[in-house]
């Protein structure tokens, strides 16, 4: 499959099941909501080293948030419910509770509930008060700028982590340009985050290592400086490969994000130095969810031709 001169490899991107939750952070204005959201999603690029993958999903208008203030929705992904809950507690406690004027609310109904303000309330040292409004319980914790308002629990659900695509280009600046175009297109979609810095990854990893203490190591078949190695897959013209990792609430969300990302890259085309698009295929060792690039791009391909 070739779209606008860009080869779409006949392969699949491997992804794995995760548990995800969504929270909504509101504040007096977007500036402070963003401060809280960016802080709590910091150091949350990969479950390998951070236990959780987190990112800003979208900005939410005043009319959509529970308390009528500007808000930002954040998605968090972890390998199991317990880790997700622990990470959520720590990050809310250290990054949102501390941020001036913020409040935090559940953003997902989900399959089950995990604690949000349920344990944070003890920070109130006995001055905390709960308020049950409708079916939901909220905690009001006195803080130095008034009250920190926090919903007691939020929902979580089974989700998909590690959806990905790799861009192979003639030059690093072209690979970066393609990534930025894809990331901009994917960012418009709901239920999706790209947890790595700016959405792109230059240190894509493969499963396992020659060192026993490492369960992931550099994806050497895609390293351009190792093109002389027999198992390197980069062609002669390719000087840089870049990965975009996508976590989504459902398989459909990830597939749609991959489609929009590949479309944006193909719009640039071979004339912009984009040679190939491939997926992180680890021979089934990484996870049970396989996103076949050509299936994902089937309808788009028909439109292009």
């Amino acid at each position: 499959m070739i779209i606008n001169g860009v080869i779409i490899d006949d392969t699949f991107a491997e992804a794995f099941p995760m548990r995800a939750t969504r929270i909504i952070i509101t504040a007096i204005n977007y500036k402070w909501a963003r401060h809280a959201a960016e802080t709590m999603t910091g150091f949350a690029t990969s479950v390998i080293g951070c236990n959780v993958e987190a990112g800003i999903e979208r900005i939410i208008g005043n009319h959509e948030t529970p308390d009528g203030r500007p808000g930002i929705s954040v998605l968090l992904f972890a390998t199991d419910r317990k880790t997700l809950e622990q990470q959520l507690q720590k990050r809310i406690g250290q990054c949102v509770l501390t941020c001036p004027t913020t409040a935090v609310f559940a953003g997902l109904e989900g399959e089950g509930q995990i604690a949000l303000g349920k344990n944070l309330r003890y920070f109130g040292d006995g001055y905390q008060t709960s308020k049950k409004i409708g079916d939901k319980r909220y905690w009001r914790i006195p803080v130095m700028d008034g009250e920190f308002l926090c919903e007691e629990t939020t929902g979580y659900q089974t989700a998909i982590g590690g959806g990905n695509l790799l861009v192979l280009a003639r030059h690093i600046s072209q690979a970066l340009l393609a990534c930025e175009a894809a990331i901009d297109a994917i960012s418009l979609l709901p239920n999706i985050i790209m947890p790595f810095p700016g959405g792109g990854v230059r240190s894509g990893s493969k499963v396992g290592s020659k060192y026993k203490f490492l369960n992931a190591s550099t994806n050497h078949p895609y390293c351009p400086t190792l093109k002389g190695e027999p198992d390197n897959v980069l062609g002669k013209n390719i000087e840089a490969a870049m990965e975009i990792v996508i976590d989504g609430l459902t398989k459909e969300d990830v597939a749609l994000a991959m489609n929009r990302g590949i479309e944006a890259i193909c719009d640039l085309g071979k004339s912009q130095g984009i040679e190939r698009i491939t997926g992180g295929n680890y021979g089934g060792k990484l996870g049970p969810h396989h996103f076949h690039l050509r299936e994902i791009m089937h309808e788009s391909y028909n439109r292009y031709i």
Binding site: T26, P66, D67, G68, R69, A103, Y127, T129, S130, K131, K132, I133, G134, Y138, R140, G146, E147, L149
Partner: protein, 274 residues
């Protein structure tokens, strides 16, 4: 929507125990069985069929009680979710007591102890409420534990006494001792309020448009604040059709009093500003 109509045809001045109405609604009993059942009318047993004319079957979700009066106690007692009783007339004591999720609509007034010990559901009164709305049974330690009481008229004394959870909304005025011994929950009104507001209050919220004439000494002024949770609360208060819908959901600037410190309470009395 089809409904069962129960019309009072008696003229007795004795008090009637109306718990049978909720029983019939929940068991979906046949009319003949119901008509033959006996209830207490004063200190005498009388067949329901002699006092009430029943049209329709109790399998319907809604029951309309017509020609009711303030001698009929326990209307809507323990009514479960999914059932609705509409009362065209007044209710006696304990209307909607122990309600567990059903809806009681009263197109008239209710007497004392409306919503006593209720746990969920809605009581809507187009007229006035009596004393002890949403309170506990005499001697019990906890009052209503959930649900909403909406009174479009005025409410009497001891509104929300020992209230544990839920919301009482009074469009008109509230009598003395509002929120006395309150454990939690919310009482809001749009009119005036009597004396000794929140006496013995431990937790919970009193949301008032005007400062009471005498704030008891156990309440301490905590200053003026914009409380974020009030937006959420106002969305909830604006849900049923009432004058509370005139409150803007972003109106959250209040003067906050905390008490009653006589009992170590941390309840709050919030007075709207502006």
């Amino acid at each position: 929507m089809s409904h069962t109509t129960v019309t009072y045809k008696g003229s007795t001045q004795a008090r009637l125990d109306m718990r049978w109405l909720s029983d019939a609604a929940q068991r979906a009993e046949g009319n003949r069985d119901i008509a033959n059942r006996e209830i207490m009318a004063g200190n005498e047993k009388t067949a329901i069929g002699e006092l009430f004319d029943i049209r329709g079957s109790f399998t319907d979700d809604e029951i309309v009680l017509e020609n009711s009066n303030s001698k009929m106690d326990y209307i809507g007692h323990a009514l479960a979710a999914g059932s609705t009783i509409t009362v065209k007339g007044n209710c006696g004591h304990y209307a909607g007591a122990e309600l567990t999720g059903g809806t009681l609509k009263v197109e008239g007034n209710v007497s004392d102890f409306a919503g006593c010990a209720m746990r969920a559901g809605l009581i809507e009164v187009s007229g006035d409420g009596g004393h002890y709305a949403g309170s506990a049974y005499a001697g019990a330690k906890k009052g209503m534990a959930g649900g909403t009481i909406l009174i479009h008229g005025n409410s009497g004394d001891f509104t929300g006494d020992l209230m544990r959870r839920g919301t009482i909304m009074v469009v008109g005025n509230i009598g003395d001792y509002c929120g006395s011994r309150m454990i939690a929950g919310t009482i809001a009104n749009l009119g005036t309020i009597g004396k000794q507001v929140g006496v013995g209050m431990r937790r919970g919220t009193l949301l008032l448009p005007h400062k009471p004439k005498d704030v008891i000494s156990g309440f301490h002024d905590c200053g003026r604040h914009s409380l974020g949770y009030l937006t959420l609360l106002l969305h909830e208060l604006r849900r049923p059709k009432s004058l509370f819908q005139s409150l803007h959901p972003m109106r959250r600037r209040v003067q906050r009093y905390m008490g009653d410190s006589a009992v170590g309470g941390q309840g709050e009395m919030l007075i709207w500003i502006g």
